[in-house]
Amino acid sequence: METNEKLMMLLRMMDEPEAMTEAQLQELLADEEVREMYGLMSDCKKVYKRMNSERMKNKKYELLFTFRKIAAIFLAVVFFGGLAFAAYHFLSSKTEKQSVEVTAPSITGRAGGESSPIRFSNVRLDSILTVVAAHYNCEVCFRDTTAQALRLSTVWDREDSLAVFLQTLNEFDGLRLTDERDTIFVESLIVED
């Protein structure tokens, strides 16, 4: 039998192993050339198995890369979303602060009601004290000018004593008011930078 014929038989046999006995196979593979061709086929299969395994690895890497890309996009969205959220809150709180500053100063009390409390809203301290001092017949002395421009919102009950009202004002940070010899002394405790 020609080597090529043997080779064809071997190829056929590889598809239908049950069609041949172990002895017949051995006889086929005894031909050196057939054996060599078989070895070559075996190596070719290894080449393709290696390629498949490389392809699988690359697919895994691709998947991993895609997953990382998605994760990065997600993180970027979260990060910039957070940044936008923080910026919004920062600006809105600033706006709120500013709105306090720009509130129109007002002094309100029940018209004609001598005993009704007066509400100062965002009014300069020197203005508040001018009104209050007039009521208690006393003078106002600012020991430093810093406190004069302070704007406060407070309620003054004219029926309260001057000491009670000064106590209310003393609760504001950085401010100390005392009543000595019919004069209200005002000190600012705020240390300017």
Binding site: E36, L40, K46, M51
Partner: protein, 159 residues
Amino acid sequence: MNQVILETLFNAHCARLLDEARTMLYDAEEARDVVSELFAELLQRMPDVEPGHELAYLSESVRNRCRNILARKTLTEKVTHLYALEQQTMTGEEETEWLDCLHAFIHTGLTTAQQRVFQLRFGEDKKYREIAAELGISEVAVYKHLVAALTRIKNHFKS
């Protein structure tokens, strides 16, 4: 050798050892068993290996285990799956080099039709009649493509 070093070796070389076993056995499960069993055995008893030669040692151990598995198979089993018939004497590196050359030639020295038949037969383990149906040719034409391609490869490397 302590467990930590063995763990480090496993993490560093496991993928490569699995590839080697898979290339010889064509079976992912069997390959995983070979590598796992090797490391389980090394955990019990690790021989002194010269530093820097750990991978070579592990690689040769895996190949020997694969050879033992193949040796237990009957001739029919071997031929059906196209396992190597002889105990190969090449080292892991030599075999890698040879397979790289073969790979290169398959993609440059064979015709497109021959490459297609090779891909379907060796890459996808298709039967000849399936290949014939897919390519719209006869089974005999598939054999002829295979024989012609193998002869071309043989002649190329012989020269």
